[in-house]
């Protein structure tokens, strides 16, 4: 018998209760997902059992790759213009800033996104669920942050989609993000969600971040000032990179 949504909901609630108890007992509030998170079944064999080794003497990891105008085209940030015609769905504009833990902008670094189309289908061979592909939407984009750390994309709102973690499993709508910091140790791959999604409470990937406050940091805000008349709805989402930044390099760059 495959696990049901009720099984998964119960496991999510149990872990959430255990974490809340630990926090009440003085443990720090977790800011990141638990690598060992059984409700998301694929984690079981894919997380290390040994503790991570804290490495003080790192020079390579405190620097990172650089990207430039050769690595992006002007069209890359507008995912609605990659086909011959208009993609189906609700057009959105999405912007925000990439900052380090001290609130400093991460300048001229690469932000990449990928997502399902409005029907919830990825342009990927492994996604064969019965929803249509959109010939005018591939769902990938990239841009460089500006001097204030700002990124922006025009795209369409992705649909929810099914997956096989358990019976009747559905992912809340999300856009995958990949962000480079000034240090390789600041690397981030995450998912941005949309406000008030009814699937949040059922999704083990979203809930792998056990703190409610931390989960809120993955959800964009609807911002009417970013909406364009007769064109698109606006969302804002700021990103804060974890890890040590290359502060000592900032002056020389």
């Amino acid at each position: 018998m495959p696990d049901t949504q009720a099984d998964i909901d119960r496991e999510i609630a149990d872990i959430s209760t255990a974490v809340a108890k630990a926090v009440a007992g003085g443990e720090p509030e977790p800011e990141q997902p638990l690598r060992d998170y059984k409700p998301y079944r694929s984690t079981v064999l894919r997380h290390p059992h040994q503790p991570l080794i804290l490495t003080e003497q790192a020079d390579t990891e405190l620097r990172g790759p650089v990207f430039g105008v050769t690595d992006v085209t002007e069209l890359d940030r507008d995912l609605t213009r990659h086909g011959l015609g208009e993609p189906l769905g609700e057009r959105i504009t999405l912007t925000g800033r990439v900052l380090d833990r001290d609130g400093r902008p991460v300048r001229r670094q690469l932000v990449e996104v990928w997502q399902a189309n409005a029907a919830g289908r990825y342009a990927h061979h492994r996604d064969q669920h019965p929803a249509p592909l959109d010939p005018n939407f591939t769902g990938t984009g990239r841009c460089l942050t500006d001097d204030e750390g700002r990124y922006s994309f025009t795209t369409i709102k992705p649909g929810a989609y099914p997956w096989r973690n358990h019976l009747n499993a559905w992912r809340p709508a999300h856009i995958h993000f990949s962000i480079f910091g000034t240090a390789f140790a600041q690397r981030l791959v995450t998912q941005m969600y949309f406000p008030n999604d009814p699937l949040f409470r059922h999704d083990p990937i979203f809930n792998s971040v056990p703190s409610e406050a931390a989960r809120q940091r993955m959800i964009a805000t609807y911002d009417h000032d970013l909406s364009s008349p007769e064109l698109s709805l606006g969302y804002r989402w700021d990103i804060v990179l974890d890890g040590p930044s290359a502060t000592w390099m900032e002056e020389g760059r």
């Binding site: 690598r35 064999l45 990207f67 833990r101 990449e112």
Partner: protein
């Protein structure tokens, strides 16, 4: 400020993140080019066919400034033509194939300072991995390196590539289990 939490790269990154020539760090025909390869395994010893690996390293002289051009775009038709064949960017990105195998072709990193032991920094992403993992590839087991020196020999060996008869260097990544790779965190 509180960080944005990480989430898994998922199973569908394959049409977005890996690009043509992503593992070809070494300029075309460079005489010092080395191949580094291996497999990614899960805790049951099964290959992981949906992992994404990123590599960042010093250039042969130990420089860490990097160069743009790792994901060069064609501004005429929007394709990914690969690198320019000349500049050494220091960055590579490859997905594992259906066997869980990966390979890069690079130039050996130089020492980043006196007494430093060269290594390549590796970042591992995969479906089922909610937060990426960092590890390193060394080419020799040296007591001069503070990280290697701090580990017991069995674990240390997981960070050192082994020269193969054909000239390639082999290093496997075990996400979990008896031969689990040493994974790192930074402060």
């Amino acid at each position: 400020m509180k960080p944005t939490p990480s989430q898994t790269v998922g199973p569908f990154f394959g049409y977005a993140l890996p690009q043509a020539g992503g593992g070809d760090l070494a300029p075309a025909g460079h005489p010092d080019a080395v191949v580094i390869r291996g497999f990614v395994y899960d805790g049951a010893g099964d290959p992981v066919p949906d992992a994404l690996l990123e590599f960042w390293q010093a250039d042969p002289s130990g420089g860490l400034d990097g160069q743009p051009g790792s994901m060069r775009r064609d501004h005429v038709n929007g394709s990914f033509p690969g690198r320019d064949g000349v500049r050494f960017t220091g960055f590579a990105r490859v997905a594992t194939d259906a066997d869980g195998h990966w390979a890069i072709r690079t130039l050996p990193p130089g020492a980043t300072g006196p007494g430093r032991v060269p290594y390549i920094s590796v970042c591992v992403f995969a479906r089922g991995l909610l937060r990426h993992l960092y590890t390193r590839i060394y080419f020799e087991d040296s007591a001069a390196d503070p990280l290697l020196a701090s580990l017991e020999p069995g674990r240390r060996a997981t960070l050192v590539a082994v020269a193969e008869p054909g000239g390639a260097h082999r290093i496997d990544i075990h996400l979990q289990g008896d031969r689990e790779t040493v994974f790192l965190e930074f402060r």
